[in-house]
Symmetry: none
DNA sequence: TCGTAACCGAGACGGTACGTCTCGTCTTAGG
DNA sequence: CCTAAGACGAGACGTACCGTCTCGGTTACGA
């Protein structure tokens, strides 16, 4: 639908706050009523954009190196780079604001990130090949990772280089050497 | 300042979106210009409320039992209970929205939760008494915990009972028995 | 046609301003396009209602007493009573508004009131029996009477009792006694 | 007030129907709310324009020749000429529509035309100098004249030349010669 | 008997204007 | 002199209708 594309365009340009129904209608060459006929609110509209994948860049998921830890670090790092790029924080915060203000968007965010994402596949595979124990709290590991990203976005924390590695360490548990002693460069 | 109290009252009642400068001015018995003289935006106003502790309930921090894991689970559980209570999710989401939309609020949230909180003290003490290794990524552990709470709030995930325990397991790393095998009820 | 009846019903209920094509279509159980197929505008629709006599009450014309003056006063009085009744002024003003806004309705009003009405017959008869001179400006006398009614409706003037008599005096010219002196209770 | 002037300008250009609050606001360089703060409706706005004399041309009243009949015919004729001119009928019908739809405008029309006008002065003087009997129904004579003009406007009757004379004859009563026989060119 | 065409109801569409709301600035009267 | 009160220009909100435009579904006629 042209409306969704117009919404995505304006959302990326201006953010959620500045997004207006009138602007969308005009951008899409559509009457306002046509939007209200199909969506109950700005939130629902943005949620559908999310569902259609019009808001988030694709191709974040890195290649599978066989090592879950490496892959996660690469993935997180890509996200951080994206968040440091121009417009990245604004888009992310707009999404968070939209999710906070609208049940539709919030639920959709959960669906998009929580269940159907790269993380789920990768975690499942890691369990299958024995890199993670079968009783690992996969759900919470994902929440911890994604939540940390959101938290850092909210608090405007700059994403320095090895935060990604440390976060993965937290999520997966520390690497264990044969002697059971933790290793890793965790100094900050 | 009466303005901050009025802001906090209306914020708690109506949330961030419904909060209006005119409403605050009227509630505080003050001219709008007086507000604009001291704060540049709604966000700055809310950020100052946050700083004064007018928005968040006190006394979440549980007693120190000596065991960091127990204390964290208790603390998380209290938060979850708060989030399940009437008005809890709305207030939390309003805070998130405010943080997303306003740099002031976002930064203040970071200060409030990230540096000056219960978590920092508790983590530091755990390191001191050897419950955590000295090189533990404390910062990221906190981000993971708080971020997960935010993520669950955003996605409207209901906070069932042992999510708290699992999240703490993720954050602290699993409990290790003498044999180096993880234990815990992590099935979901 | 069901459409005309629906139009008349809604016109009587709500007036010309509140009359909407969509309302008529719905009331008549008809698609909007069907109305637009047969009538070009709301005005044309109302004009046809007028032509069919669906908008105005019938039977205003009083019995013929033989005296033109008496009959006119009775007729005017009936009109005034109608105008004082519930919904009377609203209907009349709606008609005026419709006539002012739509050439169709205006022309039809002229036909209905100006040429085919009680007044024409009555005036003609009065001329025939010698109650009015043969060169009397019948057209203008009618305009004066009807126009005065419209003017009073527009200006919301209450129709007190002997306005009717005075108006008829104006239209017919004053009664003349043998001595050529005017008589009549014309004090106001 | 700039708002009233803008209203008058647009009313004269476009008529009452096409008059929009948004158009007025824009034309006056004013926010819509400012209009709504001071006037409850389009009607009230137009009524105030009327009161300020912004809608009607001035200088209709002719010189006083001493003969009421001549003056009235001249006056009526001027009105008819105005009504034949470009935009004349549209303005008049817009006024009528406005008066029909809005109590404010209707009442003001009554004030403007019915009580404070040229007619009242002229009639009073005619009574004073004996051209009209002291008990003449002046009010109704005025209503008849103005009403006839309105009626002719509504019905789109073209205002041919001697309609004015005939209307005045109706309003004043026919001229009486010494022999009590009516005279006048009343053929149509 | 069966297309096929006209006409229907329904209602989505791109628009305009509505009247309300809030923004951030500007003005004013009174303490 | 500062403040409360609130008017102001601006413009988004969600609603009501406008007049146009497809849609299927049903008669009803001509082949």
């Amino acid at each position: 639908m042209a409306i969704l594309q117009a919404t995505a365009r304006l959302f990326a340009d201006r953010g959620y706050e500045q997004l207006t129904m009138e602007g969308i209608a005009h951008e899409a060459g559509v009457g306002k009523q046509t939007i209200y006929r199909w969506w109950t609110s700005k939130g629902a509209l943005v949620a559908d954009c999310l569902l259609e994948g019009l808001l988030l860049p694709e191709g974040i998921a890195p290649d599978d190196t066989g090592d879950i830890r490496t892959d996660l670090v690469t993935w997180l790092h890509k996200i951080f780079v994206l968040l440091e790029s121009k417009g990245g924080p604004a888009l992310m915060r707009s999404l968070i604001a939209a999710g906070a203000e609208s049940d539709d968007v919030g639920g959709r965010l959960g669906d998009t990130f929580g269940t159907s994402s790269f993380l789920v596949e990768r975690f499942d595979k890691a369990v299958a090949v024995g890199q993670l124990p079968p009783d690992a709290p996969l759900q919470q590991m994902g929440e911890a990772l994604l939540g940390a990203v959101i938290f850092r976005t909210l608090t405007r924390a700059p994403a320095d280089a090895d935060v990604a590695a440390r976060l993965v360490d937290v999520a997966l548990g520390p690497r264990l050497a044969d002697d059971g002693i933790r290793h890793g460069d965790l100094s900050e």
